[in-house]
């Protein structure tokens, strides 16, 4: 890919060379800092310091760039002065794109879900394909056309193309909706990393990370964010590549992981076969089955069971007291008693969940599908297996579709292409973005395979006595991230006894592979960079939509451009705080939240945008109806399957799963619906043909 700068000015080339020099110096600086820290660790620098040093220094560097790039000039604030060369725009886009979900969760999801996930939860390589394939749509259908129009925000397109106020208002609201869902997931990731790295509470971790985000985006807008993101990309690429290369070198003698990990795939298949035959694993499965059955029997009569459990607890405390047992034992027994559900409703909910979890874990391989097998079930097996196969494949394709189309509709990504100097540079930018993203994405499945091999080969079968300390530390942060328990009581770790959360695997890889602690610090800094860079872009998009597209779209409100920028900055602050508040409630895992926002973006923007660009007949009414229709179907289908909504009357909710598609891929219904509605309404409201002759011919 050659640089396609308009070859006019000598100044351009000098500018580009200056950027290259700065980048080279920066990379050298990061590597030098790593070497320094490694040396310091050898000299006996405490682990308690390494984490905070990484966290603090990286955030300070980003903030420094943010302060350096500060601006109140609207052209700079909204679109970075349209001066970013394609390669750097590609890097910034890659950092913007690769969120906490890509960096922290993707490898974990590939580890847990293998090729395609289970019938109930599609995933695995669908994420990888969806998050790269969407760029083909961006490159061909959307980005260059938007860039050619010389706009500032995505809702601007709807205003310019369709006129009137409603297209723009709806687009702005949809942009806020999907970006907000997305930003909550990022801030959750920031909190996760900061709390592990510094040992502070999750909520304080969120606040620390938020400070970093705000320092960059608050001061400098798009210009500062772009250069911060370039800096963050370098950190996150190094943070991903070093552990992967190390594991590959350790296991296969070649650090180029994506080229060589194929050899481990067949070994994992062999190990999986061994585990399926192992008697110890069967014991584990039986133990979980027993627990699940226990919960099931309690659920038969919740009130009596709850009373029985309470009585059992009191009995135990009495017995302990009678034999003058250790105070610690009595305290823990009474704590257990207090932890019992308060009433029957709570008990029913908790026991149902635990029953389901135990049934889940009672499946062979701890519920993980065989790693390289495409889709669950068997196309030539029993009807049950055939159905599983069909459902997994359908959900896999549906998820991939939503992620691809969602990519083409996410406002924070599309805004990035407004910053390139020309239309041709916008096309080149998309190419560079995909290249820089692929560097990391091609390594993610390699990491999943290498980690799985490491766990199956080395961790399984080792003794609980020798349990690595990092496992205990992570289990303390959040027990849903990691739990390991000697279920069958033989003192050895079985594969079925380990449960790793998707959000943990990348962060724990350095410790799993036995790397120096400095690399753990670097990985955490990389995760932080990924989450911060995406959060920056998203917050800017949200506040721009709120201020430019909603508040000021009314031309009567007069304000100087500087005043607008200042108002945008304060909106950004408010949005960031409310996102942090939602994230502190720990609503869900990172990946499902992010996928939901892709479905929303796909159905709200893409059909109308593509039709608006390629079909002259799209009318304003058609656009409004299409956006609302697509969004409505998607939101309705998602909300119908949220547990909290089950209280509503049955007839209001969608009737089960449509075609067995999971709610996460609701965009599969939203996109065609949006297309169809736009076409039909545009056709109905088409303006009268200017030439009456045509009509007379009919």
């Amino acid at each position: 890919m050659a640089e396609r700068k308009p070859g006019s000015a000598e100044a351009d080339r000098a500018y580009l060379w200056r950027l290259h020099r700065i980048l080279a110096l920066y990379v050298a600086g990061v590597l030098g800092f790593l070497a320094l820290m490694t040396w310091a660790e050898h000299q006996g620098l405490s682990r308690h310091w390494i984490g905070p040093i990484f966290l603090f220094l990286t955030v300070m560097v980003y903030a420094g760039i943010g302060v350096y790039g500060r601006t109140t000039d609207p052209e700079d604030y909204y679109v970075a002065g349209r001066r970013i060369p394609p390669m750097y725009n590609g890097m910034a886009t890659a950092a913007d794109w690769m969120s906490a979900a890509s960096f922290i969760s993707l490898s974990g999801a590939l580890y847990l879900q293998g090729f395609s996930g289970t019938p109930g939860q599609a995933g695995g390589l669908a994420y990888l394909l969806g998050w790269t394939g969407g760029f083909c749509l961006v490159a061909m259908l959307i980005a260059p056309h938007l860039r050619a129009m010389g706009l500032y925000t995505v809702p601007d397109f709807f205003h310019v193309r369709f006129g009137g106020r409603w297209p723009r208002v709806i687009a702005a609201l949809a942009a806020v909706l999907c970006s907000f869902t997305y930003v909550v997931a990022q801030i959750y990731g920031v909190g996760l990393i900061a709390s592990r790295l510094t040992g502070v509470q999750f909520e304080i971790g969120i606040m620390l990370g938020l400070g970093g985000v705000l320092l960059c985006s608050f001061l400098g807008g798009m210009r500062a964010i772009t250069w911060t993101q370039v800096a963050q990309y370098v950190v996150l690429l190094l943070a991903f590549m070093i552990p992967v290369s190390w594991l590959a070198y350790k296991q296969l003698g070649n650090p180029l992981a994506p080229l060589v990990y194929g050899a481990q795939i067949s070994k994992i298949a062999d190990l999986e076969a061994q585990l399926l035959d192992s008697p110890a694993e069967h014991q584990v499965v039986q133990a979980y089955l027993q627990r699940a059955k226990d919960f099931e029997s309690r659920l038969q009569d919740v009130d009596a069971a709850l009373e029985r459990e309470r009585e059992k607890g009191r009995e135990r405390i009495r017995a302990l007291r009678a034999q003058n047992a250790d105070v610690g034992l009595i305290v823990s027994a009474s704590r257990e008693l207090a932890a019992l559900p308060r009433d029957a409703a709570a008990a029913r909910e908790r026991w149902t969940r635990e029953m389901r979890e135990n049934y889940e874990r009672a499946r062979p391989l701890g519920g993980l599908p065989p790693h390289s097998q495409a889709y669950a079930g068997d196309p030539h097996g029993t009807p049950e297996e055939q159905r599983d196969y069909e459902l997994t494949r359908r959900n896999f394709l549906a998820l991939m579709f939503c992620l691809m189309v969602g990519t083409a509709g996410l406002p924070h990504l599309l805004t990035r292409y407004y910053t390139s100097p020309t239309v041709s540079a916008a096309r080149a930018s998309v190419g560079w973005s995909l290249f820089f993203i692929a560097l990391l994405y091609l390594s993610a499945p390699a990491l999943a395979v290498l980690v799985k091999f490491e766990v199956m080969q080395n961790l399984v079968g080792s003794s609980f006595e020798a349990l690595p300390t990092w496992m205990a530390q992570w289990a303390r942060v959040d027990s849903s991230l990691l739990s390991v328990e000697d279920v069958n009581g033989d003192g050895l770790i079985q594969f079925g006894e380990i449960r790793l959360g998707a959000d943990l695997i990348m962060l724990a890889t350095p410790e799993l592979g036995g790397l120096p602690y400095v690399v753990s610090g670097l990985v955490a800094a990389g995760g932080l960079a990924a989450a911060l860079s995406t959060a920056d872009g998203l917050l800017l998009t949200i506040s721009n939509a709120l201020v430019r597209d909603l508040y000021f779209q009314d031309t009567r409100r007069q304000a100087s451009p500087e005043q607008r920028v200042i108002l945008t900055k304060f909106t950004l602050l408010a949005v960031a705080l409310s996102a942090a508040f939602v994230a502190a409630l720990k609503p869900s895992e990172i990946l499902p939240m992010v996928s939901a926002s892709f479905s929303l973006a796909a159905s709200a923007f893409v059909p109308v945008m593509v039709l608006g660009i390629f079909w002259r007949g799209t009318t304003r009414q058609g656009a409004v109806a299409g956006m609302l229709g697509g969004l409505a179907i998607t939101v309705y289908y998602m909300l119908s399957h949220v547990p909290a909504m089950q209280a509503l009357p049955r007839w209001l909710l969608a009737d089960g799963l449509w075609f067995g598609i999971q709610p996460i891929s609701a965009g599969v219904f939203g996109v065609p619906c949006g297309l169809l509605v736009t076409l039909v309404v545009s056709w109905i409201t088409r303006p009268a043909p200017p030439l009456p002759r045509i009509r007379s011919e009919m």
């Binding site: 308009p6 000015a9 990888l128 083909c136 310019v160 194929g262 495409a374 239309v423 660009i613």
Partner: protein
């Protein structure tokens, strides 16, 4: 060729009135259609038949897994690069044609070439 769009479009005052999309060049549309077909084949086609492709093992890789984990991504990059290259070529050709016409038409507009 100017480096930038007319940057004077600063505020949104001029963004009035709807405009229809410019007519798309037929060559551009064919290019897009061809590349999108390739895109769909590699992503949806190959993964639909992944289980059948899995039986073929090429260089230690089950083919279905390799396509989904690496091959498709490489093809995506190739598609985007090829598109950018071809569009630049078309635009250069158009530019030359226009120059040959010796500015009988108003100066070239920057928009409308995706």
């Amino acid at each position: 060729m100017p480096l930038q769009q007319p940057a004077t479009r600063s505020a949104d005052a001029e963004m009035a009135g709807p405009f229809p999309p410019d007519l798309h060049d037929v060559r551009h549309l064919w290019l897009k259609a061809g590349l999108l077909l390739l895109w769909a084949l590699v992503s949806f086609g190959a993964t639909y038949f992944a289980r059948d492709l899995q039986v073929l093992v090429v260089g230690g890789w089950p083919l279905g897994y390799w396509i989904a984990a690496q091959g498709a991504v490489l093809v995506f990059i190739a598609i985007v690069v090829a598109y950018g290259w071809a569009m630049n070529r078309f635009e250069r050709q158009d530019q030359q044609q226009r120059e040959a016409l010796e500015r009988s038409a108003p100066p070239a507009e920057d928009r409308a070439h995706g």
